[in-house]
């Protein structure tokens, strides 16, 4: 039991250490480690991420899905649905600034998930999202 707790603590520390590096891969594994706490064996899935990004949540009339502002092609500019302002691509392949700050990612997950999904996103959803945007977007 003690060994098991230590093991989890070490995993968490490792997770936190990776998050501190603040690359897309590190953010993904940080979120994945957190998701694994409630879903043992959790592994991020680009396929689930794709479903999440394009899902029409039916919560907000104007902001139905993530693609409403970010666009269906995550390598291209998006457009803010209310203000019309152009939004730089989410894909780190074309926009290297993406997912290089945990604080920034957290701030926007919080705002956009509350708006679109109607609640904060889970760690699993965030891991899948970044996995898809990085690998498949």
């Amino acid at each position: 039991m003690i060994a098991r707790n230590t093991c989890i603590a070490l995993l968490l520390l490792a997770g936190a250490g990776q998050v501190l590096a603040e690359t897309p891969a590190a953010l993904t594994s940080g979120y994945a480690a957190e998701a694994a706490k409630s879903t043992p064996g959790f592994a991020p899935s680009a396929q689930r991420g794709q479903g999440f990004v394009s899902k029409d949540w039916g919560v907000s009339g104007k902001m139905a899905s993530c693609t409403t502002c970010h666009g269906a092609n995550l390598k291209a500019d998006g457009k803010h649905v209310i203000t019309g302002k152009s939004i730089a691509p989410l894909s780190p392949a074309v926009n290297p600034e993406r997912f290089t700050s945990l604080a920034k990612a957290e701030k926007w997950f919080k705002r956009n998930c509350t708006e679109v999904v109607g609640r904060e996103c889970t760690a699993a959803e965030k891991a899948d999202f970044i996995q898809f945007v990085t690998r498949g977007g």
Partner: protein, 157 residues
Amino acid sequence: MKLKSLAVLALVFGSAMAHADKLSAPDHPKWKAECGSCHIAFPPQLLTKSDWQQVMGGLDKHFGTNAALDAKDAQEILDYLQRYAGTGSKYSAPSLKISDTPWFTREHREVSARAWSDPAVKSRSNCTACHVNAERGDWSERGIRMPAGLSGERDDD
């Protein structure tokens, strides 16, 4: 009315051009990043101190969206906005929208209803639909391009 005649008006009253110069303030990276992500970072001069205070006090319910910041960043940005804020009721509106202030209405009195509702404009808040260089701090009359096909469209000169 064509922009050419507007230009004549601007020359006659001169003040409009002078005003555009006053819209520049020293750069503030945090303000630009936080308040320039969903729309352009609106110039501090275009609302009063007390209006900015109310805007910054209600970021969790910000014109129908959530723009909440942590308290430290919010205070830092409020200080900046208030340092360069406009004075007088012409820079104030109960809605806290720059685009509802008497200053804005007067400055844009020649813009047609059709222009405001054009799909390329969408919202009065979308300043850069017409002020194409505004993001670089250029609000001058020369930097205005009306969306294609609208009255007030400017001939290239």
